[in-house]
């Protein structure tokens, strides 16, 4: 596992926030996942050693929380809200539109490696449903048409990069 110096510095700083080191488990998992894209096996043992825990203590946390992942995902992460208020406004169609645009299935990396589409539970923006979180950015009132627009923007950005 090769973490960037900035990540290592943040890790050392965040541990000081807590009187008991174990509390830094979630922050460390977030920092490592943000750096590497996922939590590798040696990430688990590394955190355990850093915080004076057994690897199982870290592993059981990873499997409990939906946001932590053990495998790489596409370059962009598209999270469509599945819960009732979004579903009432067409969230299932929004999700299907993203899957179709990137020729992919839920939870998989699209064939071009650009995205992973996930159907997630409530994103707490029910008044502007359906909502979609693309990486860190919330997009509101995303119907199938807007889903196509957002997909086109992602495709354009990736074409420019190539």
């Amino acid at each position: 596992m090769n973490l960037q110096p900035a990540t290592l510095a943040q890790i050392d700083e965040v541990i000081t926030h807590y009187p008991e080191k174990r509390s830094a488990t979630l922050p460390l998992l977030h920092l490592i996942q943000e750096d590497l894209g996922f939590i590798p096996d040696d990430g688990i043992t590394w955190i355990a050693e850093k915080l004076g825990l057994e690897p199982i203590n870290v592993y059981e946390v990873i499997t409990f929380y939906p946001m932590f992942r053990r495998k790489p995902i596409g370059r962009r992460h598209i999270k469509v809200c599945r819960t009732l208020s979004c579903a009432l406004m067409g969230g299932y169609k929004t999700c299907a539109a993203f899957e179709k645009e990137f020729n992919t299935h839920l939870g998989e990396v699209s064939p071009d490696g650009e995205v992973t589409v996930d159907f997630v539970e409530c994103l707490a923006s029910c008044g502007t449903a359906p909502v979609v979180l693309i990486d860190d950015d919330l997009h509101e009132k995303v119907d199938a048409v807007k889903a196509k627009q957002l997909s086109d923007e992602i495709k354009q950005a990736s074409a420019q990069r190539r």
């Binding site: 509390s23 979630l26 939906p66 208020s85 579903a87 539970e121 979180l133």
Partner: protein, 451 residues
């Protein structure tokens, strides 16, 4: 249309209002904290007790009572945790406070910390608010630089630090003991009671106060204007304002702040939110987040209630119910977190329940068998009814599973996951019993998909 009273959402969506310290201070920010640190802490707690403020996270527990339970004799440090894990489906008020007016939350938090002699506070923010977490971190850094947070606040010998702690997508972290476990770096399995309150044994086995974002913002207002003035807003027993989050099938979904109990469901949905979409009729409403029991338009509620010192009869339709904790409790549901989810006549209730059941099954922490298995089977049955074979006897089966969960679990999730199934069947039993027939009808391609 009834007028909003915006206390907490005063600056939300205000043109030109930004989330930095300079803007907050220009608008009178941190003046309340400056005055508060010059007063005896016990006086501040008394103001909160006098105010009648009830927690805005869902249970409506009186904030002053919660603070009163704190073990102050143990000699252990007292912690305060801001519950910013806003995750009850239908609720989206804290999002706007955090993103647009973070200093209001920080000021309310610091006043509450000073009142309770807290030296360390954590803001537990849900993982799905990455920008929110950064905004709060920046705001805390600004406040620290201005001596509102950190060592020797405003020249006093009182010191208190705030850190932001991010969750990672688990609904159960909104349950206060689950949240504490999560903050300790563990799975968010809610704790066995007793001890009944984290105020006695909470974070690191120390006395801990856990308050909702909106609640702490109200504390700031209470300390500014006095508990008595606050208690005059709203209705007795339901004081202050309430932020309602309306979503689903109305013309103007969104957030609206009103004095608690002064507005009815009908006024909120028809006047404030513009009523149903064109050509549709309101069919059902969930009044306080997705676990609250559903109400069916057309049903009536009768009984006796206390008005002042007298008992009077009431006979309400759904539209007539005042939106406060007590009235909603009286008619068998709850005000919860203020999340109002509206469904019109295009919605099939079996499918809506299947959507809710999928949520609770996904979010059960899994430590109690009745909840882990029950939520899973309720999901399996309703999903099969929609996507596979539906049978007339499924209604009874669902009810029997739901009835075996509440009261048999460590935390209130057991109730939260069974109330939807119980109430949907009680209110829309016919639709469940005839679903196997109804689903034979050809579906239009535009039909709403819910599961």
């Amino acid at each position: 249309m009834p007028d909003q009273t915006r206390i907490i959402f005063k600056h939300i969506d205000e043109p030109g209002y930004s989330n930095d310290l300079a803007c907050y201070v220009r608008n009178g920010g941190y003046e309340v904290l400056k005055k508060a640190v010059a007063r005896p802490p016990a006086e501040l707690i008394d103001e909160v007790k006098k105010s009648g403020l009830r927690g805005r996270g869902g249970a409506g527990f009186p904030c002053g009572v919660k603070w009163g339970l704190v073990d102050r004799k143990s000699g252990k440090p007292i912690y305060l945790i801001v519950n910013a894990d806003e995750s009850e489906p239908g609720t989206f008020k804290d999002r706007y406070i955090i993103h647009q007016d973070p200093h209001q939350l920080i000021e309310g938090t610091m006043i509450s910390c000073f009142a309770n002699n807290v030296k360390q506070a954590y803001i537990y923010i849900r993982g799905e608010f990455p920008h929110g977490a950064r905004i709060l971190e920046k705001a805390i850094a600004e406040a620290r630089a201005a001596n509102f947070v950190g060592p020797n606040i405003l020249g006093t010998n009182y010191s208190c630090e705030i850190y932001v702690h991010r969750g990672a997508g688990a609904y159960i972290c909104g349950e206060e003991t689950g949240l504490i476990e999560s903050l300790e770096g563990k799975r968010a399995n809610p704790r066995i009671k007793p001890p009944y309150f984290p105020a006695v044994l909470g974070l690191y086995q120390c006395p801990t106060i856990v308050n909702n974002v909106e609640t702490l913002c109200h504390v700031k207002y209470i300390v500014e204007h006095g508990g008595e003035a606050f208690s005059k807003i709203g209705t007795p027993g339901n004081t202050g304002t309430r932020v309602f989050c309306v979503s689903g099938h109305v013309q103007r979904p969104g957030y609206y702040e009103f004095p608690a109990g002064t507005i009815t469901m009908g006024q909120l949905l028809n006047e404030v939110c513009g009523g149903p979409l064109p050509g549709r009729k309101l069919k059902a409403v969930i009044p306080g987040g997705s676990s609250a029991k559903i109400l069916r338009f057309g049903e009536r509620f009768k009984g006796k209630r206390k008005v002042g010192a007298e008992m009077v009869d009431y006979d309400w339709g759904v539209e007539d119910v005042p939106m406060d904790f007590d009235s909603l409790g009286m008619i068998g549901t709850m005000g919860g977190s203020g999340g109002v989810i509206v469904m019109d006549d295009t919605v099939n209730m079996v499918e809506a329940l299947a959507n809710i059941n999928a949520f609770y099954s996904h979010e059960s922490c899994g430590q109690c068998t009745p909840c882990r298995e029950g939520s899973l089977w309720m999901k399996r049955i309703t999903t099969r009814m929609v996507h596979g074979t539906a049978r007339p006897e499924d209604t009874g089966l669902l009810k029997s599973v739901a009835d075996q969960i509440p009261g048999r679990t460590i935390c209130a999730f057991g109730e939260a996951c069974s109330w939807p199934t119980q109430s949907f069947i009680a209110k829309f039993g016919e639709e469940f019993k005839t679903y196997h027939e109804a689903k034979k009808a050809p579906k239009s391609p535009d039909a709403l998909e819910l599961v």
